[in-house]
């Protein structure tokens, strides 16, 4: 899973955006440019995953920072992933496995040209933060196997009991001290300075505060944002190479200002086709979006006046809305807690609790699950989530199936049909509720 969307290059000019969205695009593109220049500037390059992304730590060693999931989704949005996936399958990858992995491997095979058309350097180090999904481990093993990149493992235990036990946190901290930090020092040639880390973490916490305010603005009626399709833009900088930078802090401050203004004016979200019309449905969405048909997918919602008021996907790279902030006073412990708390590192009962809480707090009409065919981490168990949530909240839930970046698995007609019958179900439920009063 992952985050960070920028609109496809060369996209139609009429697409509407808030100012902060342009700033976001600029940030993301700037990171690609930095990566493209890294070799010429003699900079070392790291790659790591979005959940459990230790950006503050990587910055302490001056690494240029690449995120393969983000590359995959960017390539998906730019319609390049289909070919990469097939290339990887021709090289022996199974059709059954995560398409992010194949999109990434295919891109490397194809000469390592990044989504923006600039070259993406081969990483000097793969920081294998084993959070969120098992596939991460195999993914970086595959890259290491093929390209010989040095890999350092950060094993993050799963919250099987629905909480972070001290032993889990200590284990992550020990790995940071004994293995991750010394490896990063050696590869970068930069000595670790914990005060530098603290400074970055202070910045992170500021941005996190503003991000939470933005996401929670959806509690208003109408919601000024879309907490799924819109949120993928909002979470871009903070879940990737920018958390901890002053640019990210500034971005979130500006974004928050814009959104607060929208609340004041009673406005709904901005969509690629402009301001959304009347808010007719408020939904919670579980599961990542489809990237290859992202705009068509979103359109199916806003055309009907459906706004996603909150989504679990907007929490994949860190769950801030229940209070977690990076803590400069306890830097390593706080990094450990951050990794342990990512959404897909939560067990199923915690995921159900979270969704029920969202339905209540955001006064949503129901839950929609977008089940991703090649992502077991999200998908295995979602049918039970659906039932549990329906049972506990009495709100209707529905299920659609797509893929992340494999265009072969997006059937617009099927998705649209499902959505239409879901909206009908919501209306019926409402009617019934009114009748009961």
């Amino acid at each position: 899973m992952s985050t960070v969307a920028t609109p496809a290059s060369g996209r139609k000019p009429e697409v509407q955006k808030e100012d902060a969205m342009w700033l976001q695009k600029e940030l993301i593109n700037r990171n690609y440019a930095e990566l493209a220049r890294a070799r010429a500037e003699n900079r070392k390059v790291s790659a790591t995953f979005v959940p459990g992304n230790l950006n503050e730590l990587l910055m302490c060693f001056d690494f240029a920072r690449s995120l393969p999931e983000t590359n995959a989704l960017q390539n998906g949005m730019r319609k390049k992933s289909g070919k990469f996936i097939m290339d990887a399958e021709r090289e022996g990858q199974s059709e059954d496995v995560c398409t992010y992995v194949k999109a990434d491997l295919g891109m490397m095979q194809g000469g390592e040209v990044g989504p923006t058309g600039e070259p993406l350097p081969r990483p000097d180090v793969l920081l294998l933060s084993y959070t969120g999904c098992f596939t991460f481990m195999k993914w970086f093993e595959l890259i290491r196997h093929k390209y010989g990149c040095e890999t350092v493992m950060l094993h993050v235990p799963y919250q099987g009991e629905g909480r972070i036990a001290p032993n889990m946190r200590d284990y992550v901290v020990r790995q940071l001290k004994e293995s991750v930090i010394p490896t990063l020092e050696r590869i970068s040639g930069v000595k670790f300075d914990i005060d530098r880390l603290r400074e970055y973490m202070k910045e992170s916490a500021k941005a996190e505060e503003d991000l939470v305010a933005v996401l929670q603005s959806a509690k208003n009626r109408p919601s000024p944002i879309d907490g799924y399709f819109g949120a993928v833009y909002y979470i871009g900088p903070i879940f990737t190479a920018f958390r901890g930078t002053p640019e990210a802090t500034q971005y979130y401050r500006q974004l928050r200002g814009e959104i607060e203004e929208r609340v004041r004016l009673g406005k709904g979200p901005v969509t690629p086709d402009g301001e959304m019309g009347e808010e007719r449905y408020r939904l919670i969405v579980e599961g990542p979006p489809n990237w290859t048909s992202f705009r068509d997918f979103w359109k199916m919602f806003y055309d009907e006046g459906a706004v996603v008021v909150s989504s679990t996907y907007a929490k994949v790279g860190g769950l801030y809305d229940f209070g977690f902030r990076h803590d400069p006073d306890h830097p390593l412990e706080s990094l450990a807690e951050y990794c342990l708390g990512c959404y897909t590192n939560l067990n199923l009962p915690s995921r159900v609790d979270m969704i029920c809480r969202y339905i209540e707090e955001y006064q949503a009409d129901g839950l929609l699950i977008n089940s991703i065919k090649s992502c077991n981490s999200f998908s295995a168990g979602q049918l039970l989530i659906l039932r549990e949530v329906e049972k506990r909240t009495g709100k209707p839930a529905a299920f659609i199936e797509t893929d992340l970046v494999d265009p072969r698995y997006f059937s617009a007609a099927n998705v649209k049909n499902r959505l239409e019958s879901y909206f009908q179900m919501v209306r019926q439920k409402r009617g019934a509720a009114v009748g009961a009063h």
Partner: protein, 386 residues
């Protein structure tokens, strides 16, 4: 011999776990703890006086009806048939379930179990992917400690070190017997066909380990006493079947197609620790050291160095004098399928031939698999004759 294999076959087919029920009924207060395949420290369960029971899905005997409503079509079979076993009351004889750290499906299944079977003890059993004693080891000992405490509470008395050491000895003996069985099969595969060896191993999922050790040795003695015809088969290692098990007919088909299976990764829990665990030390630390430094490699484990990838499989190939590898993985199994290209690459570099296919625990159509492994066996024989 027929009698032993027949008994194992009956245990294998009994999806109602009659053997577990009988064991529990023999003494009041006995408890049984289920676990999914791959690795869990069964020593702890045994030390608590409980029966560890391996749950390996429903095979091709179980019709999955309710379980299908819990899983989309693009998820492997084993969690759905395991849920089916649970929902149809077949696992009521278990007092708890352990879900080992294998993959995202099992992770989530542990949470589903918590939601669906609220009155049962459920634990996701995490294992370290960092193999330093002071880092992963400390985490692991602590995890073992939690399990030991939980099981102690479940039985109403804490588990002592001496009890644990005694259980370590029991499992050492069981692993020794299984090593003998594997060594025997590698040396004389016509005498110990894998379709039988597999059933003998499976019996260990429901029998107490002491009894299973005897059974393995009885089988060895019995099969050695009858001489069976030796064929000109290709010697192969099976890889990728460490979780969802292939149907027995698939194993038979591979053998019938002209292959001797001389090593495999079926029911890896029985062979996970590669040698004896000291029986007189601090038990949890000894178990931890064995896990970190002397355990089998599967796709569920991180290889700390690139050079390590595939070495375990290569050693299996060399150790059993195999001529090729058959990759047989469950459909939709991320760990096995993502691992496979790396293993294939290592094999190719070492000139070891291989072939690959997927199966499901309920695959019924064996003709294509038989044909593929037959062609593979023929090509091996052709090359070795050349």
């Amino acid at each position: 011999m027929q009698q032993i294999v027949g008994r194992c076959q009956a245990l294998f087919e009994d999806l109602d776990f009659g053997a577990v029920k009988a064991w529990k009924a023999a003494e009041p207060g006995r408890k049984a703890i289920g676990y999914m395949p791959v690795y869990v420290p069964r020593e702890l369960v045994h030390a608590a006086g409980m029966l560890p029971v391996g749950i390996l899905g429903g095979g091709d005997q179980l019709e999955v009806i309710q379980g299908d409503a819990y899983y989309q079509s693009y998820i492997c079979r084993i969690p759905r048939s395991t849920i089916e076993l649970g929902l149809t009351g077949r696992l009521d004889c278990l007092d708890g379930m352990l879900f080992p750290s294998i993959c995202d499906v099992i992770r989530n299944l542990s949470g589903m179990w918590q939601l669906m079977f609220k009155d049962k003890y459920v634990r996701y059993f995490d294992v370290p992917q960092n193999y330093q004693d002071e880092v992963g080891g400390r985490f692991y000992v602590e995890e073992l400690e939690v399990l030991r405490r939980d099981l102690g509470e479940l039985r109403g008395a804490p588990i002592g070190d001496d009890e644990l050491n005694a259980s370590i000895a029991v499992y050492n003996e069981n692993r020794r017997a299984i090593r003998e069985l594997y060594a025997y099969r590698a040396a004389r595969p016509w005498q110990a066909p894998t379709s039988e060896v597999y059933l003998v191993l499976r019996a260990g999922m429901v029998l107490p380990p002491e009894e299973h050790t005897r059974l393995v040795r009885d089988y060895l003695a019995a099969t050695d006493a009858v001489s069976r015809p030796m064929r000109d088969n290709a010697r192969i290692v099976i890889n990728g079947s460490f979780c969802e098990q292939p149907p027995l007919s698939l194993i038979k088909s591979i053998e019938l197609s002209g292959c001797y299976i001389v090593d495999d990764d079926f029911m890896l829990v029985t062979r996970w620790l590669l040698d004896d665990v000291p029986e007189d030390g601090k038990p949890l630390e000894e178990l931890s050291r064995a896990f970190l430094h002397r355990s089998a490699s599967t796709a569920a484990k991180y290889d700390a160095r690139r050079e390590d990838k595939g070495q375990f499989l290569l050693r299996q190939v060399k150790g059993a004098a195999a001529e090729g590898v058959v990759f047989a993985a469950p459909s939709f199994c991320d760990p096995a399928l993502l691992e496979r290209p790396m293993l294939q690459d290592v094999l190719a570099k070492h000139g070891v031939p291989y072939t690959a296919f997927k199966y499901a625990e309920n695959t019924g159509q064996m003709a294509p698999i038989r044909e593929q492994s037959g062609t593979f066996a023929d090509s091996i024989k052709l090359w070795s004759a050349a």
